[in-house]
């Protein structure tokens, strides 16, 4: 029996964009408002999982040809890399720094190394969640 999932697919097409945008917004908002790497990564992952639920794996893979294990590994590399990176500036392990830079158009913006660290967290969360769900669902 073939399940009719037209409604799910149509809704997914629109909703996924909202979810992914929300995820990215949450990621950047994290410094001063609710959000952050973990939650941002989770929202992104749930959006991707929704895509996998609505469409089959091959179709989604065509649009996002990532190996999510590598995404997770890249995340861990970023997180530990920023931690070790501070050693090269003669600062203790995991020292974070931040400053404000004037960027044309956007005006004064805050930049922080925490963002890189949090990006690592987010990528790991996305990678691991998608890897787990994919490997369980593909298991015969």
């Amino acid at each position: 029996m073939k399940i009719n999932d037209v409604i799910l697919r149509t809704v997914t097409k629109t909703v996924v964009f909202i979810i992914l945008t929300l995820g990215i917004y949450l990621f950047f908002a994290g410094h001063h408002a609710p959000g952050g790497g973990f939650i941002g990564g989770l929202v992104l992952a749930s959006g991707i999982v929704l895509l996998y639920l609505a469409y089959d794996i091959e179709t989604v893979h065509k649009g996002m040809p990532f190996d999510f294990k590598k995404v997770a590994a890249l995340g861990v590399l970023l997180a530990t890399g920023t931690a070790i990176g501070s050693l090269f500036f003669d600062a203790p392990f995991l020292t974070q720094t931040h400053s404000y830079i004037n960027v044309p158009i956007f005006g004064k913006m805050g930049f922080s190394t925490v963002t890189i660290f949090e990006a690592g967290v987010a990528l790991t969360v996305v990678g691991v969640v998608v890897t787990i769900i994919l490997s369980i669902s593909e298991d015969e």
Binding site: K69, A83, T124, G127
Partner: protein, 804 residues
């Protein structure tokens, strides 16, 4: 001293480069040529310092590593470490040159050379480190790389078993050595060997001094394959021959001897040290040579001979330690000759044993077997290999004109001298030393003759050989020939070696003695007709008689029942350990989830509730609580309803969705109590886990009504009630718990300190970033775990090629 630092680090750096180079180089050249450059360069770098070391200089440099724990990366180059450094790099170069021709490019060379370089770096680290903790780290690293190299052909069962045995025994010794080091630290307050040697008078009276001595000796004995720990070395011969020549005869097994030599100035004056080192050494010497005679595999024969020769060197260091007891005086200098002979034989052994191992490797490679029952008559076919065997074998047997003769004579002299020592009540047993030494030397002579004659004389048995024998290529012969040149060269010019290499090493072993050059005797090949020479003549005569009558007395070996060998005891010990731990584990790991939950919850209740009651922390104060609103009550009822319904749910999906109701209600609570971060996280986590559970449930059977006994059911009810009560009570008690200083004030400064006004995130990303980082790593490991468990299951049709 950058040279020493380079010497330790270069092998590690090159080992890391090998995976990158391997792909590019594979088609162009044998990877070994690149690897060969490492020890060769290091050998030249170290050799440049020989003249300065010979003048009595030492080089020390400290790089601060963990100064708060007194652990510094201190490199120390003196006479003793110079000998080992030259051996490691020199023999290393020759072995790698040899391995280029021994191993074909079809083998996984990148693994082989990566492990070999790891070993080289670790071994150089052992001999150049002054800090005990750093030394220990490198020490264990040599065990690990030896394990990897023994198991290089890991499709063979014997290789894996040998590797495991070597690892178990040497790491056991390493751990006890670590305990000994820590005791020394307690006694002396420093990890630096030089400082310990300097304060030895103070440390000697400490109660932990003797325990530390024994534990460190266990480490040295296991590593140097001393009786009864020698059983790992013959099994380690499963490794490729270059590895046996390098690790298991020339370098790694001498790490224990290095340790004994290094600690001689600390423990040397103790009777326990003298008796343990010299007696265990002598027993090993005898037992190894006695057992070597009955071996039929050439490599096993060489393994037992290595065991025996290591025992010889060890016992010499034991005999030499008497000089520490007496201190410096004109007549006690005589006793230091034993240590001198030990150092001399250490180098000689590396030359002739290296050549012999390579010779056996050539025979194995070109003829296809190492079994002396199938070999014979190869002299005419492999003349150069034969010459190598004769030079190496005669040197090992202690015949002139080879270097083994010189050191063996010195060994006899030292054993004879010790008869006259009054200290440690030696004089009663003094006569035993030369007798055991002499008897062991006879067996040594016999197995050397077996090695040479069974391989090269007699009848050629072509029908028993897999290949048609022929002489090896020049490249393979080059390394053993170079070693043979040393074997002969050292015999004719021993005093060059004595002055430049041995003399400064004596200064390291006897730092309290004023002049090292006085401790260095002038080595003569001919010293008149004396007791030592007569002993050697006796060894040759009786050795030849025993060799000729080998058939008639070989059945003697069968008198020893096989049940009582040390190997048997080792196997039984391992079997007992495996069986009893399996029994214990199977007793509680029942595979039943319910049982696991019972363990977890009982432990939880016992620990948490127990602690709260014990510390009298359960106290309630409702005075400051705000009033409960009606919508909060509604949520609570929804949650209670869902929770109770889960228990009676008939299907898994129903239970899952009800669990989701609980989760979302908690998210509502977070919203009500104004915790948007938590609410968001809870919502998303709940959604993702629900999807995940639904996926998993596809594979599970329908829920079955549990057919459990009534008693079991009631115990579960009681445990659940206790868990619920514990959580509730702890939750209520914690709200007004004010014994600790609140950390909240610290986080109030989040904007000032971390530049972010979201406190939760500054905690995650800055204040407690270490936790977050490790959590991320754990998450990755968990993900990879799920992936490997589900994806990489062994396929049924794959043949089991593991146990050949």
């Amino acid at each position: 001293m950058v040279t020493v630092l380079i010497a330790i680090l270069l092998p590690f750096v090159c080992a890391a480069l090998i995976p990158l180079l391997y792909r590019r180089l594979r088609r162009v050249a044998h990877l070994g040529w690149f690897v060969l450059s490492v020890p060769f360069i290091l050998f030249l770098l170290l050799a440049r310092y020989i003249p300065q070391i010979a003048e009595g200089k030492t080089f020390i440099h400290t790089y601060e590593w963990i100064p708060s724990f007194n652990i510094n990366f201190t490199t120390y180059l003196d006479g003793l470490s110079m000998i080992f450094g030259l051996l490691i790099t020199g023999v290393g170069s020759l072995v790698i040159l040899y391995s280029i021709f021994y191993l074909s490019t079809k083998e996984s060379l990148h693994h082989f050379y990566c492990y070999l370089l790891l070993f080289m770096g670790a071994m150089l680290g052992v001999v150049f480190s002054d800090n005990l903790m750093v030394l220990y780290t490198f020490w264990e690293l040599t065990s690990v790389s030896s394990f990897l190299l023994i198991a290089f052909w890991h499709h063979r069962k014997a290789s894996r078993a040998g590797a495991r045995k070597a690892m178990t025994i040497t790491v056991f010794g390493g751990l006890s050595m670590l305990a000994g080091f820590l005791m020394l630290y307690v006694a002396s307050g420093t990890f630096s060997i030089r400082e310990i040697v300097a304060d030895v008078e103070v440390i000697r009276d400490h109660t932990l001094f003797i325990p530390a001595l024994i534990l460190i000796l266990i480490g040295a004995f296991t590593k140097s394959a001393q009786f009864p720990f020698h059983i790992w070395l013959p099994d380690a011969m499963e490794a490729p021959t270059p590895v046996s020549a390098y690790l298991h005869s020339a370098t790694m097994v001498k790490a224990g001897i290095y340790l004994v030599a290094r600690f001689s100035p600390v423990f040397g004056g103790e009777a326990v040290w003298f008796w343990l080192v010299s007696v265990i050494g002598l027993v090993t010497l005898f037992w190894g040579s006695f057992n070597a005679v009955r071996q039929t595999d050439l490599k096993a024969l060489l393994a037992f001979s290595t065991v025996s020769q290591l025992g010889l060197i060890m016992s010499l260091f034991g005999l030499g330690s008497v000089a520490h007891y007496y201190g410096y005086a004109a007549d006690t200098v005589l006793y230091t000759q034993a240590s001198f002979a030990a150092l001399f034989h250490l180098i000689n052994h590396s030359t002739f044993k290296g050549a012999l191992f390579m010779m056996v490797g050539i025979v194995d490679h070109e003829v296809g077997t190492r079994d002396i029952r199938r070999l014979g008559g190869l002299m005419a076919l492999m003349p150069i290999t034969f010459t190598i065997a004769v030079i190496g074998g005669f040197s090992m047997a202690g015949l002139p004109p080879f270097n083994g003769f010189l050191s063996k004579e010195m060994f006899f002299a030292a054993a004879l001298t010790i008869r006259n020592v009054e200290a440690f009540s030696i004089s009663d047993l003094g006569l035993l030393f030369p007798i055991v030494a002499w008897v062991a030397s006879i067996f040594t002579f016999v197995y050397c003759m077996i090695l040479i004659s069974r391989t090269f004389f007699g009848k050629l048995q072509l029908d028993k050989l897999d290949k048609k024998p022929h002489e090896a290529p020049l490249g393979m012969l080059l390394s053993p020939i170079i070693l043979c040149v040393f074997v002969v060269g050292i015999f004719f010019f021993p005093n060059v070696l004595g002055h430049y290499i041995l003399d400064p090493a004596m200064a390291s072993i006897y730092p309290a003695f004023p002049s090292a050059s006085e401790l260095t005797p002038h080595i003569h090949a001919w010293h008149g007709i004396n007791a030592e020479l007569l002993m050697t003549v006796g060894v040759i005569i009786i050795g030849i008689i025993l060799f000729k009558t080998l058939k008639s007395w070989k059945p003697l070996y069968r008198i020893f029942p096989q049940r009582y060998t040390f190997n048997m005891y080792y196997n039984r010990l391992i079997e007992f350990g495996e069986n009893s731990s399996a029994k214990l584990t199977n007793r509680y790991m029942t595979g039943n989830l319910t049982h696991y939950f019972v363990y977890i919850y009982v432990f939880f209740v016992a620990l948490i509730a127990g602690y709260f009651i014990w510390s009298d922390a359960i106290a309630f104060n409702f005075a400051k609580d705000s009033a409960v609103e009606s919508y909060e009550l509604i949520l609570v009822f929804v949650m209670m309803f869902a929770a109770v319904w889960i228990i009676f749910a008939k299907g898994r999906v129903t239970a899952m969705l009800l669990n989701g109701v609980l989760g979302y209600s908690i998210a509502f609570f977070f919203v009500i109590f104004r915790a948007p971060d938590l609410a968001l996280t809870q919502l998303v986590v709940e959604s993702v886990t629900t999807a995940l559970f639904l996926l998993c449930f596809k594979y599970l059977p329908d829920l079955m009504p549990e057919a459990s006994r009534k008693k079991m059911k009631w115990s579960k009810v009681i445990i659940s009630i206790f868990v619920g009560a514990t959580v509730t009570l702890v939750g209520l008690a914690v709200v007004h718990f004010d014994r600790f200083e609140p950390v909240a004030t610290y986080f109030n400064d989040s904007y000032k300190l971390a530049g972010g006004s979201n406190i939760v995130n500054t905690i995650l990303g800055d204040f407690r970033a270490f936790d977050t980082m490790l959590e991320v790593v754990v998450l990755l490991i968990a993900g990879l775990g799920v992936y490997t468990l589900t994806k990489l299951k062994p396929r049924k049709e794959e043949t089991d090629h593991e146990n050949q």
